[in-house]
């Protein structure tokens, strides 16, 4: 279909919000058919995602915001979402409500009602609720809240057309749904009325409609918001006086803190609505999540299963992508990583016709670009399979259990349970991984201190880019126990990361630890489509890095190594002094007096300099250095590089 990928600029914004784990991302995917992440781990939807759908000749834009529990934000993600929700250009809010967790999800819905903005509800996973014997009368719910309620099953696309038609009719201004006022009981309502009337008179015209919402937040003692409001009105002292007396009146009457009263009344409203529109059938199936957790989180079985899961992850990723030669590549069989390597080798051969007449261009193409970037891109199968499995694990809900089981252990090192996911994605299980999505995964950490420490130690993990370096060095210097050495390096990376975290949390990063809250979502069977989407999104980040940053660094490194060599018609390769006299060679030589103490000569230094920009560059640069230095051109590039290194060492 060819329609413009843009909506008209005057279209009011349509945003999708909801609790973490409510299936919001799958609703967004079904509406837009777009590429994006879906998962079960609390808060994986980390970016603002924009998509489009076409409906009756109109191109409509929708946005997916990070999940949140409440409009009083606790995590950075929630702060972003709240800011977006409050923006005045937001027209329609699509509130995704998890039928399996109705009460807590309605709590957020009630806060959206308080805002008074038009919204509609997508009552998601209603099929599973029904199977569990929970029947929700969505029409009744719609009457109670005075907004449309659509039953949806996100991952099967049910109810999506209806949602689209509601969104469309809002855009066309054929209908606008104004939610009812939430009632909190007579006493609270009176106080709210009074204060909000006062605020409405004081606020500027464009803010007047927010008066009621502001009032409720102020009664909740949202002091940050109080400061903002004080800047908007002239008589801020009077506001403070009125607020103080309102809170006092409430607290005396109820003998409770006003923040507690508001939260309690919202939950009261939610459970009232549930009483009216939810019925239970006798054949309610028992919640199996608790039974599974009896085993998964068991004192003895839990850690054993955890070890089993992580080592099989490692095993599957390694065997299927690197070790098992299961792809036919006549006349032999190769592993997926080898297949990619072969592809790039043959790709480089395509340009061999340039070698004679344009050695510089040929060298740039084959050594600098294809050699360097190809070495990185060969790991795509490994990265993809790893992310596929991690995404599936996230979708099942097991990752939250890993955080639960390991939190106590991680706390010793100044980290927390949720840091584990970021560390695993960064290469914690020793089978690939990448620090870029790893650092992105720290967004689910609500505690700033934990987040910073996790980010800082992530580079120590054995990411996919380090594996070829390890493999190269082990191949070069050790004949036996290569697997064991690989494992030792992997264990060392963990050790160094954890010790660094310990030191950082004790002595460097100050700040009180923030209390940690972790929802353990119900177990789900992962949906292939969403797992694939998620894994591909993360792999794409890796590829994008290879195509941009790593490509650039490789070209620069190549230039540094190549350029000063005078063109002589014959191969410069036969003159090892050539590289030595290049810019890179001179740089490498300059720092050699320092690095020689740890055994690095100028050639390794060249690779290290390149590695500062991206670790992936190291093997590529070493390859370039030795490739250009030695005349031999073995068909097996990596081995010959190992051999070269080993020779050199002797």
């Amino acid at each position: 279909m060819a329609y413009p990928r843009r909506a008209s600029s005057q279209q009011p914004r349509v945003i999708i919000i909801g609790n973490p784990n409510c299936g919001k991302s799958s609703i967004f995917n079904e509406i837009t058919g777009g590429l994006q992440e879906v998962s079960n781990y609390p808060g994986v939807t980390v970016e603002k995602k924009i998509g489009f759908f076409h409906y009756e000749g109109e191109n409509i834009r929708v946005e997916d915001l990070p999940g949140l529990y409440s409009l009083t934000p606790y995590t950075d993600e929630e702060i972003i979402t709240r800011e977006e929700i409050l923006k005045s250009d937001v027209g329609l809010i699509v509130d995704v409500v998890d039928s399996l967790n109705l009460e807590r999800n309605l709590y957020l819905t009630i806060q959206i009602m308080e805002l008074g903005k038009p919204f509609i509800i997508a009552l998601n996973m209603s099929d599973i609720a029904q199977k569990r014997g929970v029947i929700i009368d969505h029409e009744k719910l719609s009457r109670i809240l005075n907004v449309p309620v659509v039953k949806t099953v996100g991952n099967r696309g049910e109810g999506i057309e209806e949602l689209k038609s509601y969104i469309h009719s809002y855009i066309r201004k054929q209908s606008i749904w104004v939610p009812k006022h939430v009632t909190y009981g007579h006493e609270v309502d009176t106080v709210v009325e009074q204060l909000s009337e006062f605020l409405e008179n004081k606020l500027p015209d464009n803010e007047k409609e927010k008066a009621r919402w502001y009032t409720i937040k102020l009664l909740e003692k949202d002091y940050k918001l109080l400061e903002e409001i004080k800047n908007k009105i002239s008589d801020s002292q009077e506001l403070e006086r009125n607020l103080e007396s309102a809170i006092k009146e409430l607290e005396q009457h109820e003998n409770e803190d006003s923040t507690v009263i508001i939260a309690q009344r919202r939950y009261g409203f939610a459970s009232g609505a549930i009483r009216e529109c939810v019925s239970y059938t006798g054949e309610a199936k028992q919640n199996i999540t608790d039974q599974i957790d009896n085993i998964i989180c068991n004192r003895v079985a839990g850690p054993v299963i955890l070890l089993g899961v992580i080592s099989s992850l490692f095993y599957v990723v390694f065997k299927t992508t690197q070790e098992w030669k299961w792809i036919p590549f006549p006349p032999e069989w190769v592993s997926p990583v080898e297949l990619f390597e072969k592809f790039f080798e043959n790709f480089a051969l395509l340009f061999s016709f340039l070698e004679k007449d344009y050695p510089a261009i040929h060298s740039l193409l084959s050594d600098g670009i294809i050699g360097g970037v190809g070495a990185v891109l060969s790991f795509i199968p490994l990265i993809f399979v790893l992310f596929l499995l991690i995404s599936a694990l996230e979708d099942t809900g097991y990752v939250a259990r890993i955080a639960f089981i390991l939190d106590r252990l991680m706390r010793i090192f100044g980290l927390q349970g949720r840091s584990i996911l970021a560390l695993i994605i960064s290469g914690g299980i020793g089978a690939g991984g990448c620090a870029v999505p790893g650092i992105l995964a720290t967004r689910t950490l609500q505690e700033r201190k934990d987040k910073i420490i996790t980010m800082l130690v992530i580079p120590f993990m054995s990411c996919g880019a380090k594996l070829p370096v390890y493999a190269l060095l082990i191949g070069a210097f050790f004949q036996y126990h290569r697997t064991l050495l690989m494992l030792t390096l992997w264990a060392l990376s963990w050790l160094i990361a954890l010790i660094s975290a310990f030191i950082l949390s004790r002595f460097v990063i100050r700040g009180e630890p923030t209390p940690f809250v972790l929802e353990l979502p119900p177990y789900h069977v992962p949906v292939l489509k969403s797992v694939l989407r998620h894994a591909w999104g993360r792999t794409w980040m890796y590829i994008r890095k290879a195509g941009t940053l790593i490509l650039a660094v490789n070209i620069i490194m190549w230039a540094l190594i190549y350029i000063p060599i005078p063109y002589q018609g014959t191969k410069q390769k036969s003159e090892p002094q050539g590289i030595e006299s290049s810019i890179a060679g001179i740089l490498g030589r300059t720092i050699e007096p320092v690095t020689k103490h740890i055994g690095f000569d100028w050639k390794v230094n060249i690779a290290l300099i390149g590695g500062m920009a991206a670790k992936e560059v190291i093997v590529g640069t070493l390859g370039t250095v030795y490739h250009m230095e030695t005349a031999e051109n073995n068909e097996n590039n990596q081995d010959s590089l190992s051999v070269n290194l080993a020779h050199h060492k002797e």
Binding site: L100, A263, Q264, C297, F516, V517, E519
Partner: protein, 87 residues
């Protein structure tokens, strides 16, 4: 605030115990607000489902979902234990 005689700290309950929340005392205000938003309001029934293999954090069940808190933080939650009636 109200006075309760047989209140305990949520962090001190045995696995499998049900209790009614009395209130949250102390702790950072943002944390108190978060617990309220997550439904740990006075009067709510919570069950301590289990502790993690290393004894901490603990898993709670409330309002039909599961929530993990560290003992140190759950200490701020005052509860009134309910008699265990086998289901």
């Amino acid at each position: 605030m109200k006075n309760f005689c047989n209140t305990e700290r949520l962090s001190e309950l045995e696995e499998g115990t049900k209790a009614r929340i009395v209130g949250i005392r102390g702790g950072p205000p943002t944390y108190r607000q978060r617990l309220l938003d997550l439904g740990l309001t006075p009067g709510t029934i919570v069950k301590v489902n289990r502790e993690a293999p290393l004894g901490d954090p603990i898993e709670l069940e409330l309002k039909g979902y599961f929530l993990a808190l560290r003992r140190k933080d759950a200490w701020h939650i005052l509860v009134e234990p309910l008699p265990n009636n086998p289901e």
